[in-house]
């Protein structure tokens, strides 16, 4: 049984509309890329033309003068540590809740899921006060701790699902063979859910890489600031060295675009599993 194919005209209109939408998505990104390769004079006189001479030196200037090299390093440090911490801590908790026999597992799960409802704004002020007293502000830890806490609910939820999707016989066999619970967790549960860990990790990484509010509140100095904060401080519509700011914007967007183009399918599957299960 074959369904009727849409008529020719309807098909063409469909593709035209979708292509216009593609243009709406690509033009702003291409625009900033083009103007980032011009001179300040060209930006003012012909902001919409394709650059004739490519001024790649704008990028060097943004990278060093804007402090982006330090900010990129900071972002990598903060995001990687958060990633490892939240996956490790989260999967341990998910393992207890999903696989081990514990009578309060359901309550624990609900407690963690409640975390999904909490806006980060609510903890900003109390944490700020505590961090100031403990001299924790302006450090990597001041970002890593909140990021980890806010990554936990989703991590626990998804890892719980991945652990449960491993056939029960696998756990049983390991027990019969005399495996300790720690070995079951590290060499069976974690190893068999690597695909899931990868997806959860990507989502956590991209989310934290782009986070602005927490990083802005808890840090002051360029030595620890992440890319979004550095960029916000560096770029201002009232400054005059436009091309350098445009180059900085492109440099800030590039890492996640690259990660996305490499792993788009897995990011997408992570997003949808997260939502379907959530």
């Amino acid at each position: 049984m074959k369904r009727k194919k849409a008529t020719g005209a309807a098909r063409i209109i469909k593709y035209i509309v979708l292509s216009v939408l593609v243009l709406i998505y690509l033009i702003p990104l291409l625009w900033v890329f083009f103007v980032s390769l011009k001179t300040n004079g060209e930006v003012m006189t012909e902001p919409w033309s394709v650059p004739e001479v490519l001024h790649w030196e704008n990028y060097a200037s943004a990278w060093f003068a804007g402090g982006l090299q330090r900010a990129t390093l900071n972002s990598i440090i903060v995001c990687v540590i958060t990633l490892v911490a939240s996956i490790l801590i989260g999967s341990m908790a998910a393992f207890v809740i999903g696989i081990m026999r514990w009578k309060h597992a359901g309550k624990a799960m609900n407690l963690f899921l409640f975390g999904m409802m909490v806006p980060v704004h609510c903890i900003l002020i109390p944490l700020f006060i505590v961090f100031v007293r403990m001299h924790l502000t302006d450090s990597y830890l001041s970002m890593i701790l909140p990021y980890t806490a806010f990554a936990l609910p989703m991590t626990i939820y998804l890892m719980n699902g991945f652990f449960k999707s491993i056939p029960w016989e696998v756990y049983e066999a390991a027990c019969i063979d005399g495996c300790s619970i720690y070995r079951i967790f590290f060499t069976i549960a974690l190893l068999l859910s690597r695909g899931g860990i990868f997806v959860v990790g990507l989502m956590t990484f991209v989310g934290n890489w782009n986070e602005l509010l927490v990083a802005m509140v808890f840090t002051d100095s360029p030595e620890v600031q992440t890319i979004p904060v550095r960029l916000t401080a560096f770029v201002s519509p009232y400054a005059t060295d436009y091309v350098r700011m445009f180059a900085a914007i492109v440099l800030a967007m590039l890492p996640t675009i690259l990660v996305y183009s490499m792993f788009s399918n897995r990011i997408v599957s992570g997003l949808t599993t997260g939502a379907v299960k959530g």
Partner: protein, 294 residues
């Protein structure tokens, strides 16, 4: 088997880090925020209990708060309408059979969701600058473009519409992705049966697709509303709430009161407002979209 899985020591070891982080960074701070919301405190000295004063001030003397509530609700409604309808329509079209370049379209539309809002906001603040970007293009055709983000002549300033548009541009892809996943889960048999009965594509969409994606619609709408209430990055990097506070939203107002004005008590009250609004809105969405379990 049971003995291994009931290992008390292992349970404690596995659970302690998560519980500690969660308690220290989330639960205890929330309790503190609730307590602070009823206090007056400027970070020096000790908090002074003032009862409901902060909440009274919010709705009476604080004019910026009223603007912020209006703008936040505007963003909620605007994103809801644009993001959900466009996202659903695009998802339906991309899911249709014989669709070419499906992954290409899908990946382009979703791309902005993984880019930092802060960077995108700066990009668009240049595009909607009165002299650069779009207005420079309009000038080529002799059209004098509006002031965009600086224009406050309307009831809801033009800047809010622009920012709402940018938000829709950025997040349409995530709604589309969710709806595509939901549509992919619908059995092809329904559509074939409908076609045999002579239903048109449009009829199939309204009578098969729409009812069957309700659970996903609930998730997508809830996520969009909560995201809109927490809205901060775009506002902060496009207008900083200006001109004259006209584009302030709840989160930016909270930020200014707390870290500009050092009014920690009052800002905590605003943060509690945001949380309550999030809970209320998801409650309303949950009630409004009834999902029958088959």
């Amino acid at each position: 088997m049971d003995k291994v899985l009931k290992n008390k020591k292992a349970i404690v070891i596995f659970l302690t880090p998560a519980v500690l982080v969660f308690l220290a960074i989330m639960l205890i701070p929330i309790v503190c925020a609730v307590a602070l919301a009823f206090c007056d405190w400027n970070s020096v000295g000790s908090p002074e209990f003032v009862g409901l004063d902060n909440f009274v001030e919010m709705f009476t003397t604080d004019r910026v708060m009223l603007i912020a509530i209006r703008n936040s609700l505007f963003i909620v409604v605007f994103s809801l309408i644009t993001q959900q309808t466009i996202g659903l329509l695009v998802a339906a079209v991309l899911s249709s059979r014989g669709m070419r370049f499906r992954n290409f379209f899908k990946n382009i539309y979703y791309l902005p969701c993984v880019i930092s809002s802060a960077a995108l906001a700066l990009l668009f603040s240049f595009l909607f600058n009165p002299n650069m970007g779009i207005n420079a293009l309009l000038a080529e055709f002799g059209i004098q473009g509006p002031l965009w983000l600086m224009d406050i002549s309307w009831d809801i300033p033009l800047g809010m519409w622009v920012i709402g548009g940018v938000a829709a541009w950025q997040y349409m892809g995530s709604s589309m992705m969710l709806y595509m996943a939901a549509i992919a889960g619908i059995s092809e048999n329904y559509y074939e049966a409908a076609e045999i009965d002579g239903a048109s594509k449009v009829q199939s969409f309204f009578h098969i697709t729409l009812p069957l994606i309700k659970p996903m619609a609930k998730i997508s709408i809830t996520m969009s509303c909560i995201g809109s209430l927490k809205f901060f990055d775009l506002i902060y990097n496009m207008t900083k709430g200006g001109p004259s506070n006209q584009t302030e939203v709840l989160a930016s107002h909270l930020y200014n009161e707390a870290f500009g004005g050092m009014r920690f008590g009052y800002a905590s009250a605003i943060s509690i407002m945001i949380m309550v609004l999030c809970i209320v809105v998801s409650g309303i969405v949950n009630k409004a979209i009834r999902v029958e379990d088959f």
